[in-house]
C-alpha cells in the first residue's frame, strides 16, 4: 500500500488543479490551478524513474561496487522533468503577464465580469 502513495498524490494534485481551473472565478487562482497540475505531472515523471536504493546516474562519480545500470535511478524521466519545469516557467510567466494586462484593462480579475467574447 505504502508504495502507491506517490501515485495517489499525483492523481489528487491533478484533480485539485483541474477543480481550480474549472470552477474558480479568479484568474490568478486559475493560474495557480495550472501550476498544481504541472507539479502533479512532474511528480509523476520523477516517481517513474525512481529505483529503491538507486544512486544518481552519473558515470564518473559512481560509488565503488555499483553495477550499471541496474542500481542507477533512470536518467530519462529526470531529463523530461527538467524540460517540463523550464517550459512550465515560460508558460507561467506568460499567463501572469496576460493577467496583469487584463487587470489593467478591466480593473477586475473576476471571470464573470471580464467575459466579452460570448456567443
Amino acid at each position: 500500500m505504502i508504495e502507491y502513495i506517490p501515485y495517489i498524490t499525483v492523481v489528487a494534485m491533478i484533480f485539485i488543479g483541474l477543480y481550480a481551473v474549472l470552477f474558480r472565478r479568479n484568474l490568478i487562482k486559475i493560474v495557480i490551478g495550472i501550476s498544481i497540475i504541472e507539479s502533479g505531472v512532474n511528480l509523476f515523471l520523477v516517481i517513474l524513474g525512481y529505483r529503491e536504493g538507486g544512486v544518481a546516474p552519473i558515470y564518473t562519480s559512481l560509488p565503488p561496487g555499483t553495477t550499471y545500470p541496474g542500481e542507477m535511478v533512470l536518467p530519462v524521466p529526470q531529463a523530461l522533468t527538467l524540460t517540463s519545469i523550464v517550459i512550465g516557467v515560460a508558460v507561467l510567466a506568460l499567463m501572469l503577464s496576460l493577467v496583469m494586462h487584463i487587470y489593467r484593462k478591466y480593473g477586475t480579475l473576476d471571470v464573470r465580469k471580464i467575459r466579452r467574447l460570448k456567443e
Partner: protein, 521 residues
Amino acid sequence: MTLLETLISQSPALIIAVPLFSAFLIPLVSRINAKLRNIFAVVMLGFTGCLIGLLASDVIVHGPLIYIFGAKNLSVPLVRILFEVDSMSIFMAIITVMLAGIAVIYSWSFMSEQDGLDKYYTLLLLVVTSALGMELTGDIFNFFVFLEISCIASCALIAFWISEGEALEAAFKYIVVSAVGALFVLFAIGILYAQYNALNIATLAHMLQFSFLDKIVLVLLLVVLGMKAGLAPMHMWLPDSYGRAPPSVTLIIMSATLASLYGVLRVVFTVYGNVLTTSMRFDLPLHVLVGWILIVLAIVSILIGVIMAFIQTDLLRLIGYAAIAEVGYIFLAMGTAIAALGTPYGAIALQGGVLHLLNDALDIGLLFLVAGAIYYVTKKRSLDEIGGLARTMKYTTVFFIIGLLAVAGMPPLNGFASKFLIYESVYRLNPILSIVALLCSILMLAIFIKVLYAAFLGPELPALKDAREAPKSMLLAMGILAGMAVLIGLFPNLFLDTIIKPAADALLNHAQYISTVVGGI
C-alpha cells in the same frame, strides 16, 4: 550531385534550424532596416520551402527517411532523438511553410503601421518552427516540446493587439486550454514511457500491447490533440483566437492547428496502428469505435460551425466558425477512413480528407486575408458597418468570391474536388452522414453569400467614401491563395497523384514507418 544528396540527408535538421535561427536573428536584422527584415523573413522561409521541396521529392520516391540527433552507435538505446519523415509529414510541412510564406508577404503591408514588429516576426517564425517540428519529429516527447513552443508563441501572437481587451481575453483562454492540454499530453507520454521504456514513436508502436493504461493514453491524446485542432465540443477557444488575432497571424495559428490535427492522425494510424483491429467490448473492433467517435464529433463540429457562423455579425469571428466546420469535414473523412479501414472507400475517404487539409488551409486562409484587407481599409469588424466595398476594392471582391465558392465546395474550385471525394466515400458508410455534410455545405454557401451582399454589394456608405483598394503585397498574398485554389480545382488529379496519394498511403502503411526505425538501427 553528392552535394544535393548531402543536403537532402541533412535537411530534416535544417528545416527546423533555419526558421529557428532566423527567428532569433530577426531582432538583429531589424536594427539595420525594416525593409531588410521583411526581405530576410521571406528569403529564409523561401529557403526552408526549397529544403522541404527537396526532401519531399526524395521521401515520396524512396519512402521514410530518418535523421538521428545524438549517438548513432551506442549500446544504450535511449540517448538520441530521431526525426522520421514520411510522405504525410512532408505534406503537412509543405502546407505549413506555404501558409507561413503567404502570411509574411501579407504582413509586409498589413502590419507596416504597427510597432514591435521585430518581436512579431520572431514569434511568427517560432510558431512555424514548432509546427514543422511537430510534423517531422519521430519522438513523442519531442512532439510535446514543440507543442508547448507552439502554444507559447501562438498565445503571444494572439495578444499582439494588446490594447484591445478582447485580444487579451482570447489569448488567456487559449493559453489556459493549451497549457492544461499539453500537461495531459505529458502525462500520457509518462504512462507510455513507464510501460515500454521508450519515447520513439515507431518503437512505441512496435511494442504497444494495448493494455488498460494504453486505452487511457489513447483517450488523453485524442481529446487534447482534437481540442487543439478545433474539434467540437472543445472548439470554444478557436473562434475567439481566430477572430481577435491579426488576420496574418491567424494563418500561422491555423498551421499550428493543422499540426495538432496531424498529431491525431499520427497517434491513431501509427502509434495504435498495430492494434486497430483488436476487438473491444461487444466484438466491436477498436478502429470502428474510434472512427465512429470521430465521425460523431465531426458532425457536431460541422453543425455547430455552420449554425454559429449564421448568427455572427463580426466578420473575422464568422470565418472562425466556418473554420470549425471545415475541420469537421476533415475529421469526417478521417473518421470514415478509420471506421472503414481496409475497404477501398475508406482509402478514398482518407485521400479526400488529406486533400481537404490542403484545401481548408487555402480557402479559410483566403477568406481570413480578405477579411483582414477589409479591416485594414475600413478599420471596422462588424458586417453592419460596412457595405458597397466592391466599388473600390475590385480585386478583393473577386478573391472573396473565389474563396466563398471554394469553401462551399462549388465545382470549378478546389473545395469541390475534396468534398466530392468525402461525400462519395461517406455515403458508402452511411448515407445520412453524407446528406448532413452536403446540406451544411449549402448552408455555408448561404452564409457567405450573405456576407458578400453585406460587405461588397449594396449602396455606398458615406462613412466609407475614401475606402481604397488594399496594398499590393496583400493583393499578392490573396492572389497566390486564390490561384492555388483555382489550380487545384481545375487539375485535382495532378495533386492527387503526386502528393495526396503518397501521403494517404504513408498513413495507412504504418508497418513501413515502424520498420524504418526498428529494423534499421
